[in-house]
Amino acid sequence: MNDKDNEDWILSFYRFSEITGALFFGRLARVLPPSEIQRDMTKHFADESMHAWYWTRALDELGKKPVHIGDAYQDQYLESVGIPTNIMEILAITNVFECRVIAQYAMHNRVPDLNPVITSTFDTIMTDEKWHIQWIGDALKTLEPKFGKEHIDATLDRYRKADKEIYGKIIVEHEERIEHILDVKKKNSSGETSD
């Protein structure tokens, strides 16, 4: 598999993941009762839709077409941790997932000589992603009286452990495709700069 195929795949993976997120949050926004959580979930859903569009547009500007992706990252979450049963669990799993997305996008954005189309897409999306973490954190705080802070923290810990496992599996499965991104992490942790 060459570098061009790898890039096609990873950008398509991001696109597919954003579409999956948009569909999930859109359906949630539809069933949640009126509240601040419903309001912010609706904005979150709209953001994810736009992110899917940004990746689609980036692929188009790069002269690429989205490739078929079988499972989104989120599908593996549900397989691994089971379906969330209440709004607190949904927000907790989303919080962990959004942190993973930010880390992945930030790492990819540090790959040397990245096409400006890709870097500007990351920069645009990252602003929204930071807000996602913020509103979900705030919403989880408002749920503390109902679910208990300890229970929320324990739920977050459980999902973080699952996330580590899922991400580890994805790295093993797609190592060849994302090797150039993982190199950035290796260099950073060994003290080298990626420039």
Binding site: V31, T85, N86, E89, T155
Partner: protein, 78 residues
Amino acid sequence: MISEDEIKQIMTVYLKVSQENLTNEMVLTDLVAESFVLIEMLMSLQDELGIIINQEDIQHVSTVGDLVNVFLEKGSTQ
């Protein structure tokens, strides 16, 4: 005090079967096209019955009867 019928009435909004044909032995995943419907159903049950459940509560749930029992048990303690 909530009843089995009350729980099943809410469930049938989301499942591909009418309340009269819904039996306790039916497997939940056979009655939905995708897992998100189960999430919607669980949220609706909690909302309408005023009961909170979590993932641990449904860890061993596979049938309609299993889920009804979770809500009946939770309903008697909350």
